[in-house]
Amino acid sequence: MEEIAYIVHPLVVSLAGALLGALFFAYVRWQTQIGGLYTSIIVGAIAGVAGATLLTAPLAYCMFRSDQNSEDIIVGWIMVILGLMLTLNIGSTFLWRFFRGQRLLPRGDFTPGAFRGRFRFLYAGAVLSPTILVLIFFVYLPMFDTLRFSTFLARFGAPRTRFICVSNFSRMLGDLDYQSNIFLSFALAFGIIIIAMSLALLIATMLNQPIRGANLYRTLLIWPYAISPVVTGSIFGLMFGTESGIVNRVLDLLFDVKVPWLVTIPAAQFSVVLASVWNVIGFNILFYTAGLQTIPKDLLESASIDGASAWQRFARITFPLLSPFTFFLIVTNTIYAFFDTFGLIFVLTRGGPTESTFTAMYRVYVTGILASDIGKSTAQSLILFLIVVGITIFQFRVGQRRVQYGNY
């Protein structure tokens, strides 16, 4: 059998994982002063080995072989870190439960309505199976395929594929075009979220006033959300065309100027943000309106009696009490901005001019569907997925501390 040469031997990877896990757990033990030090270190080392091998072992540590380039090795270490983040998190949860004498797995809830008797798992399984089958065939298996394809050079209709380890990922490290797509996605998402949320809050606050026909306004304002991003793109495309668009028609009549909305930078990016904001704002208004109605009137009244100004009432009472809604909307708007704007961009600018509205999601489409290059496209979609998951976790970590789920 041929000896496989490694630049970084798998044993070194495992040892590094063990060391990092042990150090991390020892550090946490030292910080919290709960539980035994040796137990922590041993569990940490085990979790560390598991983390280091979780993503690398299924690929037979191919990214650390001597025939790979340095980018592949960097990707390999990133995979080690991602695996560690997962296993150390799970490991620590169980370990602290163990130290505190809690059950490792939360006890099943056998309150009324739960299945009982000897065959309860059978019954439950039978009832759940349609959902589980749908999930398996439409979510988990495609996801597994995505993972698998991301390590291949593959095209639709091709008679053969080639295993290329993590090259689909490592090529992105040096791909400035792709990195600018990612950066652009962040920038557009930031713009969309800030504008769509603050504008929605303003409109919802105004809608919450006792005005005549509030219901009608509410319905009309929520309307845009019922329109798909593709249709939104078509509408804005018609409005913002350089020569034939109604917007330039009006601008031309009033100020004698024509703005090339969709074909110059930064006007095209602005148009995309504007169209996205218009599309998503109805959803935000809906939730903020609902949120505003949960805020007790007596609280605002008493503040008012105590001499708080309208701004103070908003800043000190309304806005903090709305925080669960704000938090929820930030998460959903992030997902909208990264994924759903694709349809709109596809119709409105096709990523142009000169790739200035070419988001990461649009890249996935162009690579995967237009070019049938499934290997690269699945790798890009996984990166995008990781980014959005990362942002969401970050938002939960940062957000939850500030969110007040009130018992008011």
Binding site: L153, R155, G157, R350, I369, S372
Partner: protein, 471 residues
């Protein structure tokens, strides 16, 4: 009791009624996927119906599937599911893919030397040589030509006359000169700019071919499988420079990469004097010019007067109809008979008048020049039916329809004007179109941009070649 009996009888009647037709001869279904969704789809649906009426044992169903790229993707997925149409419209840039997958039965193989299939004449020699040549793969006639087009210039003759231009521009230099002459009309607000046309990669390929140059190695992939992108030519650079000059002087309204609608609208509404588009737009552009009340003039696609060999010719565009392989023999026969009928003398002539796509048969052109009363060929868009043409020479009455055929007729057929054939054609189109876009809008180091793009396209092509051909 009576009610129960009635109910049972009713049930029996329904059951018999539902199953009865299966005893009769079911027509053989022929599903045809096409990309059109406008009056061109109406024409195709009508043609399918006419064939089904002619041959009651067959039923032709036209299905409109997205655009040229989507139709290939969808067919690929349908293929993997094992439920695919009998006939697919395959565009030029998917030729290599269609060949490499082995998913299609070549027309010439199905015909197998016969003079007719189910009563439909083959008459291969009648097909205009340049068209037959383009769709010949590995020496075999692969797909049946249907919608064949080529880019032509469209001019607003009235605006040109206002600027004192008598002769329609023919070269890039002519266009730049005309734009300079038209500038006063732009300044006084009569028009928005000199020119507007779709910024599509097809025109880049055409312009490179006109200058007798290749896009990929091995003579455009026609002399052997292409392995490298070869944009590093004076011809390609000249195209980029021409666009840069047009745009930076403010002569050209840029409406976005790959978009056909807005530039066509700009010309149709009289906002620009010069337009370039597919000859397939001849019908609709003629109608919108008539509606807007201006005189339409057409010439062949403008060319680079400084190219060493002058104008070599233009590439065919459009698509052909391919028969899926693995069909039952009688279905394959039916599909072939349909395609032969679909592209026969009358139908090819009718299709030309309905759209502007060039007739694919010499006999169709003859027919159009010697029309007899009662020869219903013209597709009337509002009424969606064939009507009589009130002339005995179509081209004399509508000279703009001849421009495309003339351009193809004068083309020197070689491996430059046959156009490139390679697996990543579709993917590459968008990338080199982006290069020219970038240079047109922002300028920069053209040589460096070309070098980088060539490297990128070559890598993709070599990956494709490995996956499909193991090379």
């Amino acid at each position: 009791m009576k009610r129960t009996l009635l109910f049972v009888l009713l049930l029996v009647a329904i059951t018999v009624g539902a199953t009865a037709p299966s005893f009769a001869q079911e027509p053989i279904e022929l599903e045809v996927w096409v990309v059109f969704s406008d009056h061109r789809l109406d024409w195709a649906v009508d043609a399918g119906d006419r064939f089904s009426a002619l041959y009651p044992e067959y039923k032709v169903t036209m299905v409109s599937v997205g655009d040229y790229g989507t139709i290939i993707t969808n067919y690929t997925l349908a293929r993997e599911e094992g439920n695919y149409p009998e006939i697919l419209q395959v565009v030029d840039f998917a030729l290599q893919f269609a060949v490499d997958t082995g998913w299609f039965a070549y027309a010439e193989d199905i015909i197998d030397g016969r003079e007719e299939v189910l009563g439909q004449r083959v008459d291969f020699d009648d097909i205009i040589p340049v068209i037959a040549d383009y769709y010949t793969v590995d020496g075999v006639w692969a797909g049946v030509a249907w919608n064949t087009s080529t880019p032509i210039m469209y001019y607003n003759v009235d605006l040109l006359a206002q600027a004192g231009i008598e002769e329609l521009p023919r070269t890039w230099a002519d266009i730049l000169a005309a734009c300079e002459a038209l500038q006063p009309l732009v300044d006084d607000g009569t028009i928005s700019a000199c020119a507007s046309w779709p910024f599509v990669s097809w025109f880049i390929e055409q312009w490179v071919a006109q200058q007798n140059e290749y896009m990929v190695n091995n003579e455009n992939g026609r002399a052997g499988r292409a392995t490298e992108s070869t944009l590093d030519t004076d011809a390609f650079r000249a195209v980029a420079e021409f666009y840069r000059e047009l745009y930076s002087k403010g002569y050209f309204i840029y409406e976005g990469k790959g978009l056909w609608g807005p530039p066509i609208q700009n010309f149709a509404s009289g906002k620009v004097a010069i337009h370039m588009s597919s000859s397939a737009g001849a019908r609709s552009t003629s109608e919108s010019a008539a509606a807007a009340g201006f005189t339409l003039g057409t010439t062949g696609m403008a060319y680079n007067q400084d190219a060493p060999g002058g104008w070599t010719g233009n590439i065919l565009g459009g698509a052909t109809m391919w028969v899926s392989n693995g069909l039952a023999p009688e279905v394959e026969e039916a599909a072939m008979a349909f395609l032969l009928w679909f592209s026969n003398t009358e139908n090819s002539a009718s299709w030309h008048t309905a759209s502007g796509y060039v007739p694919v048969r010499n006999s169709s052109i003859e027919l159009l020049q010697n029309l007899e009363p009662g020869n219903k060929l013209l597709w009337d868009i509002p009424s969606k039916s064939l009507v009589d043409i009130e002339t005995d020479d179509w081209y004399a009455a509508f000279p703009n329809y001849l421009t495309a055929s003339t351009q193809l007729g004068e083309t020197t057929v070689n491996n430059a004007t046959r156009g490139s054939i390679y697996g990543t054609f579709q993917q590459s189109k968008d990338i080199y179109n982006g290069l020219v876009e970038e240079y047109m809008l922002n300028g920069g180091d053209l040589d460096a941009m070309i070098e980088e793009t060539d490297a990128q396209l070559t890598e993709l092509l070599q990956e494709y070649n490995f996956l499909f051909a193991g090379e």
